[in-house]
Symmetry: C2
Subunit: 678 residues, 2 copies
């Protein structure tokens, strides 16, 4: 096995140019710190080397200590004590704790936040902090073949970037990764691919990043090894058990499976007249004796059923408590699909006996892809901090998922990765790196604020100059709200083009045969001459009933509904008076325009920052902001002009008017290859 170091990968191709590929890991490596440890292992070696080369403070002692205090923090936790003028000690019950403690120490240093006396004790909010790669790994040929993992090099060569990837994740506490998109190809579980998977797992192991897979539920049938994939069929059960045993031979610490079953056309237990419960438990049984985990996604919906927003709860709640102990239900933060803003999924808090994990989307599928600054720390925080009222006041989503409220030992948090093959700087945009960062940091500590994490990221990624830090932290904190404003304010959702999720097509009402009603914007916005929005109250789909009191009452009453969600839960008359006295129509226009003005302000702010940033990243961001500003205007004009057809009222006269007609916008076609060339 050869570690190849030739420049095979664009991330690597500009090692000496400031292309952002160093992420937030920019500490100078010219330190010569004194570091000693009481044990040895590849992981501890890494911790030592990181500190030796970067730590500028007092000598550091790394100790594996299995006492009551360290054991209480679990394998990942650590304690930092000592005095920076004398000696610093990091204690942990396991090697990974020492690694996380070392990265923590370096983070404090890079953020200018080293205390004189250390008194730090940390352990993660979730046991599993996992990336979901929507990656073509396992597929051969076609559009899924451009895999981040470069499987064509495996198993004989190990790309050097695996180490950089593992290091970046470990530095922010991410300890698991699903290598492939849900659902995977049948071939994924064949020996050919398992040999490749072993190589990846071996490369990530020293950094304690565990490998998971997302197989196709029908794999035994699709491979032609069985005639069915019915989960109650004994042969099928045996097939999976044998297959799991085989996997663990390649990867002894294999994490488990993530399943997308009977969702958006994928195969699953329902194909055989069985239930999600049957399918999940069968696979969980196969994993159980290896301590493997089964993550089963609740992302299911059917155009023939009522209100898509209700379907996951309707499908999964009745089986709460019937899943095997090693099953965890993976639930997207909102009831639909990673929209710029959604209320929480009603499964949080409602599913109490079976563990539930949040699925976030780190990649900006619905937020301007790698062209927009949309810091998702605020999105993640908003979800975590929402009170479900499941057990009275204070039953936040954080507490329903981190074991606090329902006592589950199996806890996890997942994020769909924004790390792409051949993307410069890993994510295509420096500011997208912040979303990877904040996912890791919140998975480690779900009580941290999005703002504190943004500040941390800015300091490490750019500079500790206070003017820059506070200016750009503030910009980041406003950025997602700006996206909501210019895309889908007031609870609007899914106004995206039918053919892509980049631009607006609230009018889209066409498509190839088989295009589903619930893939069309009008399913969601329901604009008509009376008003706008989806009636999910008792007189409508009654989705509000899936929330606990008092959420169901406040959401269900137009007078008390949080206006950020008013069009999510209500069909609101155009002339309805909002809390500030404006009509709905005017308020909608003001939000759209405010989003545009915000992005224009970001441009001005960024230009002022020129002296604090290297020329390359300055220009990179400046050019991306051009695109974002242009997209913001596109969104505003498209949505305002489209909805104006129903509202039949003028845009408030003090707002900038569109400089295009609706017809011109409807004729606009975007060229993706051109758009993402940068």
């Amino acid at each position: 096995m050869i570690i190849i170091s030739i420049l095979i990968f664009s991330n690597m191709s500009m090692l000496f140019a400031e292309d952002g590929s160093k992420l937030w890991l920019r500490a100078k490596t010219d330190a010569h710190a004194q570091v000693i440890a009481n044990s040895q292992s590849p992981t501890i070696d890494i911790a030592i080397k990181e500190l030796q080369s970067q730590w500028k403070g007092a000598p550091v002692q790394l100790n594996i200590v299995k006492d009551k205090t360290t054991n209480a923090l679990g394998t990942d936790g650590f304690i930092i004590s000592g005095d920076n003028s004398k000696q610093i000690v990091i204690n942990a019950s396991a090697e990974q704790g020492l690694l996380y403690g070392s990265y923590h120490l370096l983070r404090l240093q890079e953020c200018n936040a080293i205390p004189q006396h250390f008194n730090i004790s940390e352990s993660p909010s979730y046991s599993i902090r996992i990336l979901n790669h929507w990656d073509g790994f396992g597929y051969t040929g076609g559009m899924m073949s451009n895999s981040f993992w470069k499987p064509e090099l495996l198993p004989d060569n190990v790309p050097e970037f695996y180490t950089q990837y593992a290091r970046a994740n470990a530095s922010i506490g991410i300890n698991a990764t699903v290598l492939n998109i849900v659902p995977g190809s049948p071939e994924l579980l064949t020996a050919t691919w398992l040999e490749k998977i072993k190589v990846i797992a071996d490369a990530l192991r020293p950094y304690h990043v565990k490998v998971y897979l997302a197989p196709n539920f029908a794999t035994p049938k699709l491979l032609g090894e069985l005639s069915t994939a019915d989960p109650l069929n004994k042969d099928v059960q045996k097939w999976w058990k044998d297959k799991v045993d085989e996997i663990y031979k390649y990867v002894p610490d294999f994490g488990g499976f993530l399943m997308k079953a009977n969702s958006e056309g994928s195969s699953g237990p329902l194909d055989y007249g069985r239930t999600h419960l049957d399918g999940a438990n069968m696979m969980a049984d196969a994993l159980a004796h290896h301590n493997g985990v089964l993550m089963w996604r609740a992302f299911v919906y059917d155009p023939n059923e009522v209100d898509r927003a209700k379907q996951a709860s309707l499908e999964f709640l009745p089986n709460d408590g019937k899943f095997r102990p090693n099953v965890i239900i993976q639930v997207k933060n909102g009831p639909i699909d990673f929209q710029p803003r959604e209320p929480i999924s009603p499964l949080f808090g409602a599913m109490q006996k079976t563990p539930v994990m949040i699925e976030y989307e780190i990649i900006q599928e619905y937020l301007g892809a790698s062209n927009h600054i949309a810091y998702l720390g605020t999105t993640f925080e908003e979800c975590l901090d929402t009170d479900t009222y499941a057990r009275g006041i204070g039953s936040t989503v954080a507490k329903t998922t981190d074991g606090t409220l329902f006592g589950h030992k199996l806890t996890a948090i997942s994020g769909v990765a924004n790390i792409a093959a051949n993307a410069p700087n890993w994510c295509g945009y420096v500011f997208c790196q912040a979303n990877w960062y904040v996912f890791g940091r919140l998975g480690w500590n779900n009580k941290l604020s999005a703002e504190i994490i943004a500040e941390e990221w800015v300091r490490q990624t750019f500079t500790n100059d206070e003017t820059f830090v506070w200016t750009i932290t503030d910009l980041m904190m406003r950025s997602r709200e700006a996206e909501v404003d210019f895309m889908m304010p007031l609870g609007l959702h899914h106004l995206f083009a039918c053919g892509h999720h980049y631009g607006p097509e609230p009018w889209c009402d066409e498509h190839e045969p088989g295009w589903r009603a619930d893939w069309k914007p009008s399913y969601y916005h329901r604009a008509d001459e009376q008003g706008l929005g989806y009636d999910r109250t008792e007189t409508g789909s009654n989705a509000v009933s899936q929330y606990f009191t008092p959420l169901r009452e406040t959401y269900g009453n137009i007078a008390t509904c949080d206006e950020r969600f008013i069009l999510w839960f209500h069909h609101v008359p155009w002339t309805y008076k909002m809390k500030n006295g404006r009509t709905l129509w005017d308020e909608l226009c003001y939000h759209y325009d405010h989003g545009v003005q915000e992005v224009r302000d970001f441009q001005k702010i960024w230009d002022r920052m020129e002296k604090y940033v290297d020329a390359e990243r300055f220009t990179h961001v400046k050019n991306k902001l051009c695109i974002q500003a242009s997209d913001a205007v596109w969104w505003r004009d498209a949505c305002v002009l489209y909805f104006q057809q129903f509202a039949k009222m003028p845009i408030p006269y003090d707002l900038e008017r569109p400089n295009v007609t609706l017809q011109q916008i409807m004729n606009k076609k975007i060229n993706f290859s051109e758009m993402f060339s940068n």
Copy 2:
């Protein structure tokens, strides 16, 4: 000869829809005024019918009176006297005076400006008030064939719109028209075309609109009738004399010729080693005994000579006084070519012995074509009111051209028409009609203010509602300055694309072989790392020397130069402090941005006017303003980003940033057929 009334012409095709084709002539025709006249003629019949159908006041008496008072006003002047509760009298020495007086009375009525007692005496500032049609009339086939005059119908059918065209012109005092583009086709002067011209002249005659032609100087040679067009050749002289005699047989009141000779590649006397003087006098002689007028354009320039801005004066001034009495030199308002803003041509005031006439461009060749509101009243007024100081203070361009200062009897003013074949509402844009209107009104009275005329036009074209009148008059008065700001502020000129005169290409430096240096923007803007602008001071091209004192000194000194022309006359350092304390670079950016904000403000203003305007014209203008706003941003971004490469300074931080890169703008191609589809 049959007057055809079928709908052959798009102007006619929507007689009942509000498409703007009624221009400013919207008086209701349900009046039954008492009108009597002391003479009869087709022209007087028109005056009577106009008043009978539209005049709502006291009975009107029309009198041809040849006394000292009326004779002093010339054939076109009129006196309105009487009392609106009893009887109104219009006296004039000729029938056309009665026609103009009648239109004046109706204009007062439509503008809500009827006095109780009339005491009005009017006569025109210029004898000849002439439109120049840059029209393919005379050409057959190819791109020049789409003629406004529909020559394919002639001589057998007379399009009804001729009458409407003549009426519109007469209503604002225009009394002459050059049917074809300079220079015309050789065929223009053949019998085939003269028969058509006769029909047009006959149709326009009752409205006293005289026909002129713009022949090709080389016609006798190009038709193959002679081997040369040398103006000193006897055969050539005889050919022109015979040709003129022939023309007058068809059109006994033929006006004369407009000549573009040896200009931009056209033929002329220089082709035979002769001078402009030789050519002009030869043709003037041919016209003289029919009292025909020769208008000879001074628009000549050569890329091999110094500064294009100087060339017309260098060529023509030495021959001042040597031209025949029936020659008038036609001089564009500025020294270059109808740019958004130019200083006056130095020929005004300098050419004293030979009459000089202004050539304005009514069509917005360089001002957004029929897509932008750019009310040119302010441009025309600015030129007329500029003091040349030719005979001391008060020697305005108006006085140098209307006979006041140099005593010439032959006076004229011309405007390149913006009336196009198949254009809806004659001009393609309702607001472009105002430029036709203001040209006529200023030609009649060069002391009227642009603002008064705009107000007149708004009242007649839209409504007398005072809110609308003052709001839209104010918008119009700001409109040309907005164009200057977003296109070419501070004296910049000719930043247009090499391939068209619509959009910005300050970078354009290419073209097919033969593309001239003086057709490239860099010839004019001269941007470099030191600064911007064309040094026309004594240390540069010394074009300032062509102006009289004190203009030459104030223009020539950067400290005293009117900042509206500073980049016209000076190469100004980027960091030069302008009068308001800003650097040149900052000031440039502020002007560009202000132009954009102005157009956005026009959009807001227009939207507020919805209740005062019919839906069709409201939408028509609204959509055009979208285009203008979009174009303004395009201009601003293109120019600011282009010049920033030289200035190397940031755009002032409080200004909106471009949302495109320079490269993206440079890649932009416009689709004219799409752009002018509305």
